[in-house]
């Protein structure tokens, strides 16, 4: 059977996890791949856990990624990336927004937020590229650009050219919110640079 690419995107309800996966899927479709995408998002709009599975290749059968089978884990929130790290292949790559969303159960003192989720993932032997995509999006002028920043961050780790993904991002805003095309183009490239810089720093250190 030909190689299927498995991408797991995870985060918190409302962050745009499903939209980001949808855009990744559109890019894969534009290149002629067979694509399946599935979500586990019961009551996700209410601040719960969201995961979105994307699989593409010649022919995709099951829409679900099995544990240990994700080539790429895209974590929109650091504790969520840790929660789903068992989905990653031992030789897979995790791209993580080190920004945090602290849920009410932690604020109430019922549970603790992990001290450093990214360090914990690295201690498990996983390859993790992490940067604060939330802060970067705010610097760029709008927290909602965070999801385009994350897409930019994964653009150079896909089995197709980064431009295909960038075009899918811009096509979406081009039809829905043309005034946001430039901002999203900037956010996409900023995400690309951020992860490249982080990867370089990791090799040097």
């Amino acid at each position: 059977m030909s190689k299927i690419t498995n991408i797991l995107v995870c985060g918190v309800g409302g962050q745009g996890v499903m939209t980001a996966t949808e855009i990744l899927a559109e890019a894969a479709i534009s290149l002629g791949f067979d694509v399946k995408k599935t979500e586990v998002a019961g009551m996700s709009q209410r601040g719960g856990v969201v995961t979105s599975h994307l699989r593409f290749g010649d022919v995709v059968l099951s829409p679900q990624i099995a544990p240990g089978e994700a080539d790429l884990l895209i974590g929109f929130e650091s504790a969520e990336a840790l929660r789903w790290s068992h989905m990653l292949r031992p030789d897979g790559v995790a791209l993580v927004n080190s920004g945090r969303i602290v849920p009410p159960v932690v604020n109430l003192g019922l549970f603790d937020y992990p001290e450093d989720p990214v360090a914990q993932m690295r201690a498990l032997g996983l390859t993790v590229h992490a940067f604060d995509a939330s802060s970067l999006a705010i610097q760029l002028g709008n927290i909602r650009l965070g999801n385009t920043v994350m897409l930019g961050a994964c653009a150079d780790r896909l089995p197709f050219p980064a431009e295909a993904l960038r075009d899918a991002v811009l096509a979406r805003f081009g039809t829905r919110k043309p005034q946001l095309v430039d901002a999203n183009r900037g956010a996409f490239e900023a995400g690309r640079r951020a992860v490249a810089g982080e990867a370089l720093a990791a090799t040097e250190s």
């Binding site: 998002a41 679900q64 240990g68 992990p114």
Partner: protein, 626 residues
């Protein structure tokens, strides 16, 4: 939402199962489509409502939606209704006689099982309805099949004069895949034919019709043996042959690409003779079905030896990672240890109520009351059972808060005699099945205080309209229910009905205290809209003045996700008692100024924020309306 949109022409499209069903319903020339929202089926009608050329509606409940579809079928139109699995329980009264009358225009019932229970109160298997009602069941395995089987279901329904069930699961409804679509055909209704022996189901007319129901079933059984919807995939590894239906087909093909598979599309009535022939070609048969051992039982009854729930779980999805170890064990092979990292322990992140949700005030107030039993219902407000409120004691089925509250009131003994019985229900659930329960409370002199949380939306499924919003599925103005008048008409005394602002905590608390003291039915209606719909008007946001916050933590008890603890401390009071302190900040960019947290803050540390808002974390996008 626009009433109609330009329909994309036939093409290669990337569609969810729900989207694919909607597309095919439209293409089939359907004239009437109805549903009550319910995860995971909701989007089918949402999508259909954007197509032109057919009547679409949110019905008040699933039973009505099915009856609307049947009425359209009676006049010869193609008709469709959709519901989640538990919705078919509500609609089953109509179904069980519709199967005696049979149908005229093609009638397809899409029922979506929540296998894995991402958003439901149980995991029942809707395939049973096919056997119970003697109607065919089709089970698509992906979006392309959801599309083509919907078209096939209309054709089959018209040929057999029987309603047809299209059984979906969450893993069909919410999976997107590539679908090749077509164009709409127009089907002109043949017209209603007056025939009491056909449509008036009194015993004298119904009894002679029963044989026709079984004749239809026999015809469907014969069809199942020959239809291309049921097919076999050959494989070289004949140790185990798999029998599958629905999404399990894809899971089995993924996990065991070399194994022979019998794939059921028309799974009820089951093609037992074809299955018998298949079984003879393999060493052993494993039936992979979600969730009950239904085919397995039928095959065993027909004398076809097979494995099923002896090796596979009876609960949840049968994804490849569940199938692989089970099949290895069945073959007597060793299940290897996984090479990937083990699952990590991380705090739970249950769904929460939204920032400024009008239910927050209700549950904060209820959490402060002692000696109450709170009978709950189905909707966002079921989250009141969680932290920090812990103020909801039951949740069973749509509208059940009314009847269970009355039963508690009538059944309680000495141990509960000083407790107050409160029922909590939302606007849409009240109209779905709750108002009959309230009528039962007034008629039978129950002592129940009803909190009717009118947020003008079916909140949990995405804010759909309902008869209380005064807008139809297209967002267009229509008749609007007056809840106070409705409750009065149902027998609640006018002076026992109050309409309150749930953001005014002292008023709410006083009303609840007074109404629970009075020993007769009363209704407190809250009147502020869901924050995720366009009725909602955000106000000026708040912030915490750090030097005034005493760390008492009262504001956290409101349960708003915009309130964050910045540091914790402990102090020892004069009495020697140690007290935990939690100092807070408000995520100002997320706050919409409802003012609930301001009210329990004794040191008045919560004040309006400066016009220049600080944005500190990604939290701010968490509850932005779509």
């Amino acid at each position: 939402m626009p009433a109609t949109q330009t329909v994309p022409a036939a093409a290669r499209m990337f569609l969810s199962g729900n989207d694919a069903v909607a597309r095919a319903v439209w293409e089939a020339g359907t004239r009437v489509a109805a549903a009550y929202p319910g995860t995971p089926s909701t989007e089918i009608l949402e999508i259909l409502s954007r197509y032109s050329g057919l009547h679409t509606e949110w019905s008040v409940n699933e039973k009505v939606s099915m009856e609307v579809a049947l009425g359209a079928s009676m006049v010869g139109a193609r008709a469709f209704c959709a519901m989640k699995h538990v919705g078919l329980n509500v609609a089953s009264d109509a179904l069980m006689t519709m199967t005696v009358t049979g149908t005229e225009g093609g009638l397809v019932i899409a029922v979506a099982d929540d296998v894995g229970m991402s958003s439901s109160q149980n995991e029942q298997d809707s395939r049973y309805w096919g056997r119970f009602a003697h109607v065919p069941v089709l089970e698509p395995a992906d979006s392309q099949e959801a599309y083509s089987m919907t078209l096939a279901a209309f054709e089959l329904s018209e040929r057999l004069k029987s309603p047809v069930i299209l059984r979906l699961t969450t893993r069909i409804c919410h999976v997107k895949g590539v679908v090749h679509t077509g164009e709409r055909i127009e089907v002109e209704p043949k017209g209603f034919v007056k025939d009491p022996r056909h449509w008036v189901m009194v015993p004298g007319n119904a009894k002679p019709r029963l044989p026709s129901m079984f004749e239809r079933e026999s015809a469907a059984r014969a069809e199942a043996e020959v239809t291309p919807l049921n097919f076999q995939v050959d494989g070289s590894d004949r140790r185990i042959g798999f029998v599958t239906s629905g999404p399990t087909f894809m899971h089995v093909r993924e996990a065991f690409p070399d194994a022979p598979v019998f794939k059921l599309g028309l799974s009820c009535p089951p093609p037992l003779e074809s299955l018998r022939r298949f079984a003879a070609t393999v060493d052993a048969v494993l039936v992979v079905e979600e969730t009950e051992p239904l085919l397995e039982t039928e095959m065993k009854a027909a004398g076809i030896a097979c494995h099923g729930k002896d090796v596979l779980p009876r609960i949840g999805e049968l994804a490849p990672d569940v199938l692989e170890p089970a099949v290895k064990r069945l073959r007597g092979e060793v299940v290897p240890e996984p090479e990937h990292v083990p699952p990590q322990q991380v705090f739970p992140r249950p769904p929460t109520m939204c920032v400024a949700c009008p239910h927050l005030g209700v549950y904060y107030t209820l959490s402060q009351m002692r000696n109450v039993i709170i009978s709950g219902d189905i909707g966002c407000y079921t989250l009141g059972a969680g932290h920090p409120w812990n103020a909801l004691d039951t949740c069973i089925s749509m509208g059940a808060s009314m009847g269970t509250a009355l039963g508690m009131d009538k059944g309680r003994g000495k141990v509960d005699e000083n407790k107050k019985v409160v029922a909590v229900i939302g606007d849409s659930t009240f109209m779905h099945m709750g108002m009959q329960g309230l009528l039962d409370i007034t008629w039978n002199r129950g002592n129940v205080t009803v909190l009717l949380l009118d947020n003008r939306a079916v909140g949990m499924t995405g804010g759909q309209d309902n008869p209380g919003t005064g807008r139809d599925i297209h967002g267009e103005e229509t008749a609007r229910v007056d809840f106070a008048k409705l409750c009065e008409a149902l027998g609640v005394k006018k002076e026992r009905i109050r309409v309150l602002d749930p953001y005014e905590l002292p008023v709410l608390f006083k009303a609840l205290r007074e109404e629970t003291k009075i020993e007769e039915p009363s209704v407190i209606i809250t009147n502020r809209p869901c924050v995720l719909i366009d009725h909602y008007q955000p106000a000026k946001s708040y912030t915490v003045e750090e030097d005034r916050c005493t760390g008492c933590g009262n504001c956290i008890e409101v349960g708003c996700p915009a309130i964050h603890v910045t540091r914790r401390d402990k102090v020892v009071k004069a009495s020697g008692k140690e007290v935990d302190l939690s100092f807070v900040r408000i995520e100002t960019s997320a706050c919409t100024g409802c003012g609930l947290c301001v009210q329990p803050c004794a040191p008045e540390a919560i004040v309006h924020a400066d016009p220049v808002q600080s944005v500190q974390s990604v939290q701010s996008v968490q509850f932005v309306r779509k």
